[in-house]
């Protein structure tokens, strides 16, 4: 039986973690993710979970401790934001290359500088090539649901990679929304017990983790690592199917919203997708054929499926909540454009940087984006393919 509640995104993720009851949770606080370990610490203090909660002195240490715990055979995770993620840089690659299942509850926040505590995706986008699976949420419900599914994906025998469960700082992490929660028993049986094949604390078979690889092995090791990522898409879909059976809520690699007959589409990640849906509903009432492709799984990047979903669209705006400083657009723009190119798409596409450092995104802003796409179609020209939205200029 599902329970209805009203929770902030951080509360929702902490509640999911209480239900999962992981083995080890090392953490160091940073806005806006601080509440996740804070709520969880109260669960530990009140005996609601069996978790070993480790207050460490930095994010470098929280990720290191999570890695050590995972290698030891424990189900482990940590939480962070922004500069905290940046301070985990080295460890992110260690976790992925050692094929260690673990989770990171990431609450997206702008990277310095200028120093800023509000939402954009510059932190996780910087980690997009670290070998982690990355999954993003539009709202609190999705943040909760993704967290419940995280360990099933990460620990799957064909994947064995760490997973980042991302939500938008303050916009979802601190906003309270109605949410539907699963019962504790449902979550525990869905997530199951973690039984690694090899682990450090196995007295029957000790193991070495992270050995040196000379040039003769390194490249084969990296290709071997890529194999886990190749399996992740199918595992994400399988786990989502099973989750739908449990919760009634369906998830895929991305959400296509009113996209079937659309001639114009927005591709984006995160909470602004909700705003975009409102804009789409307004424009659809006027008979305009507009739609949205909201990325859920960003790493691995489901390029073929995205290109297929966009095959009938004439104009596309790819929205990046992070600068790439390539002087060519943002990271999502580069990935989607490459996917379209490989699929021999003839759609007109532009890349728009928006919402940096918590800059508000209004329904009217997104209506304007669709209007700009219409102009591109009329002029049969994508115009500037690297633009900013909501910028004073």
């Amino acid at each position: 039986m599902a329970r209805r509640d009203r929770l902030s995104g951080n509360e929702a993720v902490a509640e999911a973690l209480r239900q999962i009851n992981p083995d080890v949770f090392p953490a160091f606080p940073i806005t806006p993710s601080t509440e996740i370990p804070q709520y969880f610490a109260s669960f530990v203090a009140n005996g609601k979970v069996d978790t070993e909660f480790i207050p460490v002195e930095s994010e470098h240490s929280s990720m290191s401790a999570a890695i050590g715990a995972s290698a030891a055979g424990a189900r482990a995770l940590t939480a962070t934001s922004s500069c905290g993620l940046a301070f985990m840089w080295e460890e992110l690659y260690i976790a992925a290359s050692n094929r260690l299942p673990l989770a990171l509850a990431l609450v997206n926040r702008a990277l310095s500088g200028p120093i800023n505590i509000n939402c954009d995706h510059s932190d996780s986008m910087g980690a997009r090539d670290s070998g982690w699976i990355q999954m993003y949420a539009e709202n609190n419900q999705e943040a909760y649901d993704n967290m419940i599914q995280a360990f099933r994906i990460s620990e799957h025998k064909d994947v064995k990679l760490p997973i980042m469960i991302c939500q938008d700082g303050f916009i979802t992490s601190h906003a309270v929304e109605n949410i539907e929660l699963l019962e504790d028993e449902e979550v525990r049986s869905f997530v199951g017990e973690y039984k690694p094949e090899n682990y450090l604390l196995n007295p029957e078979c000790p193991m070495s983790v992270g050995p040196y690889s000379v040039t003769d092995y390194y490249m084969e090791a990296k290709r071997n690592q890529a194999e886990g990522m190749k399996h992740a898409q199918q595992v994400v879909l399988d786990v989502a199917n099973e989750f739908a059976g449990l919760s009634g809520r369906k998830y895929g690699l991305f959400e296509a919203y009113r996209l079937e007959d659309a001639d114009r589409a927005v591709v984006m990640i995160g909470s602004a997708a909700g705003t975009t849906k409102d804009a789409i509903d307004r424009l659809r009432e006027k008979g305009e054929k507009v739609g949205l492709l909201k990325i859920r799984l960003y790493r691995p990047f489901p390029a073929e499926a995205i290109a297929e979903a966009l095959k009938n669209v004439k104009a596309i705006a790819i929205m990046d909540r992070a600068e790439g400083y390539s002087d060519h657009g943002g990271p999502l723009g580069a990935d989607v454009m490459a996917a379209l190119f490989r699929a021999k798409s003839t759609a007109l596409a532009t890349n728009i940087i928006y919402g940096l450092g918590g800059r508000d995104v209004r329904v009217e802003d997104m209506e304007q984006v669709f209007k700009d796409l219409q102009t591109m179609i009329v002029q049969n020209d994508a115009g500037d393919t690297y633009r900013y939205m909501g910028l004073r200029e």
Binding site: S97, N198, P206, G210, P211, Y217, E220, N224
Partner: protein, 100 residues
Amino acid sequence: MTADISKLGLKTKWQDLTEGMIIAGSGTSAEFMTGEWSSIKPVFIEENCKQCLLCVPVCPDSCIPVHDKKRTEFDYDHCKGCGICVKACPFGAITMEGVN
């Protein structure tokens, strides 16, 4: 995926490496044939050897076996060809192929 370290070598394909390069089991370094990394090898000239054993402790890979207080032939399965033993020998009893 192989967990048998003795089967790892320079010709091992990526498919045959362990996931995350983990090594399951302990004391496995003896089974890992690092000798194939070497491009040059030491040669033991037994008639010049006084059995002073100065070469034995300087070998970083413990590749000079000692039996009955006498050094024996090199362990080429693990010798990486660093040549430190050549420098340690006062009697010219070790040379490197291609190196004096």
